[in-house]
Symmetry: C2
Subunit: 730 residues, 2 copies
């Protein structure tokens, strides 16, 4: 007689454990620690104490109880005052006399910071989590739980932390029909159809996850959204979400479509200098704040990719943005104005356009306007230099937009950790005020004393059970939150924390997985767009390779526009002999990047058109180096996949299999990128493959025919708009 203990256990209600491994719990797993560890922590977490009873204090209490009870596998008591040693006391000086009497140095923490300190009160050792607001305390509670999740000591704590960036936002590109533009994790988690009557319990878990990493705002819909979201019906729906998110310190923002006064207001114009239009927006703002008293503000994409904007009326971006700013200012709202614009006419070099449009407007925006600038001057490529706008607008609040969803980085099926990419960006020196003028210091406001600071990430969240479409894409959501809180945080520390919270602290797993994550972005760059190439993706869906594509609607949508490969060489000349985009940067970058010899090789083809036999630092000619990088990318993905297979003993079956299967897809795709790219560039260069290099298995014609007609993420934002009904006399 044999037993099937695992199956039987599963049937006994412990399927919980198996099912939890679908990744739904993200980094907030709170699974029981091993017994010796739990025994070590238990005396320092005997009870959760607070006399506060605001909505935020209530969720803080619930999270501490849930987390501690889970991690320590015991019931944790709850009370209003300290009854025993090992209490975890949370609160503000306003709602806790004990905390007030401790005279903690809360002055420097601002409204959202926290302090965690070991203290002795009335002879009892306890841990105090304090802040100037309930939300600051909530952030502290998540930090305290993380200390235990990551096996840090908690007996002599003295931690103070405050966010360096004021607005830390997710930008959802979710449409009202629940499709998501560039979404690879299912459909939208926001179920507009059933709001406001039903708010899914998932909305609470969404808020918990965001609060746990310091995200304090969410733009619910696509920058290309319909005006319908500003109608009364949809405002009531948005209000139901705002009510749910509020206890977690998360504000709701909406997208304002520039033409809304025409589409839903019945006006004949949307001219920002028209008094009726300005009045309409003021009333609209009043209406929004009626439903959502702490509404965050508007995100606006204007005069970009076909969206309407002030340019339609001969007005500047500043005139457009300021109209919204005036409407929101009385309520404390902000306007985030996207700098991702490029005109109807194709300029000599598209990447220069945002700078050319916005630099002259510096100082012309109202104080509650934030210019929202993408990390690079093009469009979320695997590698770009930082946007020249960073540092160039000292008199305009300038915020950063990064893309968490991997539109150009293999969707959810490629394992690419973006922490390193963002660290590279934030650590880049703009030299705006001499050495040390990093993008991080622009963004956090310290460089120019911005009134508003902001970092936004285009969400990778969807209805998939694991939220992000893959387990490792959860790390990018996590890393975004951590870097928005502290733009100088380190990608390897963040990766390591995430692995510990999400999987295990066992070094046999932690070390190789952290290493795998840290190398993954460079690997993707190698097999997709090495040496400074960019935008080489096929136009249908941005998934597979398409370096040959020259037929897209406008010149600067074509990969050939960016690679400029011809018989003489490859790359886009942006030095003084070319578009001179380098001149948009501060010296010495404008000089260093002006010449191929001084340009870093990982940006070489971004800034320069160089001959195929250009001598690289390795001693190899460019052609050999390029081919070598593709091969290196493929080899690295193979190594990642092999490494993951070794780690099976440390992972539950479901997350193991998902990741292993996706790495199989990534291996296939890396080869395809390598083969197709080499086939095309060889057809242009006419050069033989370097010795020992494998010939692509198919002809160029084969690769050119590939399509991905059902690639995800192509949700369409638009629908015909008809004004909502108005009552007609009976």
């Amino acid at each position: 007689m044999k037993f099937l203990p695992l199956l039987a256990l599963a049937a006994l209600g412990l399927t919980a454990a198996a099912r939890a491994d679908d990744g739904y719990d993200l980094w907030l797993r709170y699974h029981p620690l091993e017994k010796p560890l739990a025994a070590r922590y238990a005396p320092a977490a005997t009870e959760v104490v607070s006399a506060a009873h605001s909505a935020t204090a209530d969720v803080t209490r619930a999270e501490l109880v849930k987390g501690l009870s889970g991690l320590l596998a015991k019931k944790v008591a709850v009370g209003e005052s300290v009854h025993q040693a090992g209490a975890v006391l949370f609160g503000t000086p306003e709602n806790s006399a004990t905390i007030k009497n401790l005279n903690l140095p809360l002055g420097q923490l601002g409204p959202e910071g926290y302090l965690i300190r070991s203290a002795v009160v009335g002879g009892k050792k306890l841990t105090v989590i304090a802040g100037n607001s309930d939300v600051g305390v909530l952030y502290g509670a998540y930090r305290f739980l993380k200390l235990i999740q990551t096996h840090e000591a908690i007996d002599k704590l003295d931690i103070a932390s405050a966010p360096k960036v004021k607005l830390r936002l997710l930008n959802h590109w979710d449409n009202l029909d629940a499709t998501i533009e560039r979404g690879y994790a299912g459909s939208s988690i926001f179920k507009w159809w059933e709001l406001p009557e039903h708010v899914s319990p998932r909305m609470v878990d969404y808020a918990r996850a965001n609060a746990s990493i310091g995200i304090n705002g969410t733009v619910l819909i696509n920058v290309n959204a319909s005006s319908l979201v500003l109608t009364q019906e949809y405002l009531q729906k948005a209000a139901a979400l705002a009510d749910t998110f509020r206890p977690y310190g998360i504000k709701v923002y909406l997208v304002a479509r520039f033409s809304a006064p025409i589409e839903i207001g019945g006006l004949k114009t949307a001219d920002p200098l028209d008094p009726q239009v300005r009045e309409w927006w003021k009333h609209k703002a009043d209406e929004i704040y009626h439903y959502i008293p702490d509404f965050g503000g508007f995100l606006i994409k204007a005069n970009s990719e076909g969206q309407p904007g002030p340019g339609d009326y001969g007005r500047t971006h500043a005139e457009g943005a300021n109209m919204f700013a005036e409407a929101l200012a009385p309520h404390g709202g902000v306007v985030m104005w996207r700098a991702f614009v490029y005109s109807h006419e194709v300029p000599d070099d598209r990447i220069k356009q945002a700078y050319n449009e916005f630099k002259p407007l510096d100082g012309k925006f109202l104080p509650n306007v934030i210019l929202q600038v993408k990390n690079g001057p093009l469009d979320f490529q695997p590698r770009e230099p930082f946007s020249a706008l960073f540092g160039a607008t000292p008199a305009t609040n300038t915020g950063l937009e990064v893309q968490i969803t991997k539109e150009y980085l293999g969707f959810n099926t490629h394992l690419v950790y973006l922490g390193t990419m963002w660290q590279e960006l934030l650590g880049s020196d703009t030299f705006a005020k001499g050495p040390g003028s990093t993008v991080a210091k622009v963004i956090d406001g310290s460089m120019f004393g911005y009134k508003q600071t902001m970092m936004a990430g285009v969400s990778n969240i969807g209805s998939d059970r694991n939220w992000s479409g893959s387990i490792f894409d959860q790390a990018n959501w996590y890393a975004f939150g951590r870097l928005a809180w502290d733009p100088e945080a380190k990608a390897d520390v963040i990766a390591s924390d995430w692995v510990k919270q999400t999987f295990t602290s066992n070094p046999a797993f932690l070390k190789p997985v952290t290493a795998l994550m840290m190398g993954s972005r460079e690997t993707a760059v190698d097999y997709m767009t090495p040496l400074g190439l960019a935008h080489q993706m096929g136009t249908s869906g941005h998934y597979g390779p398409g370096p040959w594509v020259d037929s897209a609607g406008r010149a600067d949508w074509n990969p050939v526009y960016y690679n400029r490969a011809d018989k003489s060489g490859i790359g886009f000349e942006r030095g003084p002999s070319g578009s001179n985009a380098v001149a948009q940067y501060f010296p010495p970058l404008s000089t260093i990047w002006a010449k191929p010899e001084t340009t870093p090789e990982n940006l070489l083809l971004w800034f320069h058109h160089v001959p195929w036999n250009y001598a690289m630092k390795s001693g190899r000619p460019l052609w050999d180096e390029l081919v070598g990088r593709y091969d290196q990318g493929v080899a690295n993905v193979d190594a990642m996949a092999a490494e993951w297979l070794n780690l099976k003993p440390y992972v539950d079956d479901e997350r193991f299999a998902l990741t292993a299967d996706y790495l199989t897809i990534q291996k296939r795709d890396a080869r395809l990128w390598r083969d197709a790219s080499i086939a095309y560039f060889q057809s242009v260069s006419g050069l033989p493959l370097p010795a020992g290099v494998k010939k692509p298995p198919h002809s160029l014609g084969f690769y050119e025919q590939l399509e991905w007609p059902y690639a995800p993420g192509q949700g369409a934002p638009g629908r015909k708009i008809k004004p909502p009904p108005v009552e007609v006399a009976q």
Copy 2:
């Protein structure tokens, strides 16, 4: 000091219980029985015994262990031979000597039936689950578990059951881009993008749920699907699903687009009499069976709503269908040919068309063709008479298509149990061979000795955690399976079983909820389309009311086409003085339905145009009766919602809240239907409202302006097709 025991328990890993209440487990919950019950069953389920080790036997064993261990909250042993009293022995005479020696009456069970019998073997009392095939045994295992779930006695069992219908299929209207036409439960559960490399674990739970109710086939994609699904790439993806479903007795079917030989075959025609076309389909069938050896066959929508078909080449439906049948026959596959056709020209009465087209073709189809007929002659309305084709095609295998997803019945947000609707249909007497010639007897083949029998349900399954978009919509999936197994099963028994398996057997909950379900369809008919009205939904999404709509692309898409309301009266005259559709039915129906006086009032306006003052059986004039029905519908929904609130103590919070919130939406919508319909029909009839009836709160103009631009379920099936790449000489 107070405790929060619930929260603490939740944190202690028992969040399982809370989370399970998201409805994911459907009717396969296996939560522990109350102790006295468990004690009663435990002696009769001590071990699970079988020497069989096929893939199907393995999943049978796993399900019994999971189910029994869960229900009885104990480890259930597993073995190859009986070791103790109370064993549950499963198998076939081929793989179990014990079962063979019992000489069970398996002869009448066919390949999928099962027998469950209490027996004594070697002095030990045991339960035998036997069948002629492993899949039959699997069905028996689910039945055995249901006995315990529903608290039936299991000590003296002698149950034999075999399906009356051979092919019991789900039709998914899922598109390759993961949208679902008429889907209200999220996006598709089939993730084509990541197949075949990754098969989601959810696919196993999908197969389990279907097998548990006897469903044995699934059409993976939309009847309006792209030909791309027939390319090698997609066949490999479909094969990965087929491999996953196979152990559960579920075959995969695909949609064949008639024009595929042109679109992906490079031919110039799709003429079914063209030898090249016939050859192409034969090769395609061979290719499919190479990847999926037990492929079920094709579902085809031809010459309907713009789809290509044999009519494009002057050929008949039979000539079209037989071409596919010949290609599939050598492999044992079937063709399901949809009878839902209506021509480009608008006929005098659209509902007559399917009969007119297919009746003359009776006997002209090959034996492996099944004509797939929708329940009614129109299109899945809240109430229609049965289609006149049932009984009219004795020489053509005729199968039934019902719609599980509630396209015309309030989507997922209205609680409407469809078991009663299908029972009404299946119990309808066609009189084809005199009294007793029910639709059920046509469908199960007993009336005409069909070679193939089939019942298909358009799936309501999506990526939502609860699968069907609401908890109560799970009951419709369940009821479909039960009725496909036995078309004479009773809707109230099915509802009661479902409630017991899904919620509880507690009569305080079971009785009111079963009653609520049993009345729910009639309630929806009352507030949407009472007295035989049909197709009164607004054209944008089929959600809200639109009895005034007269502007749709063709006359017979318009509600006014169907209600024919004018100053003189309301209803579509289909008696001899009208379209004479009644003549398509056998006598005496053709006579009974020919006159208003003998037509049942619930079909009155379907068959007759009658004056507003027509005297109803109640004594009220038609106008008063019509208004009264709308009011009754609203009152019934209010009562349903109130009843549900009373039941809070018996339901977990999550399923309670979801259902309560949706009933709130249904209350709102029922009023809207009532108000808008009364406002419109009053504008036509010019009559005052009956005494005491509430005036609609808005003018007709208000209702006419309502739109639902983002109503779900409008996924678009089509994408531009480009043939897949072929190798070009290097």
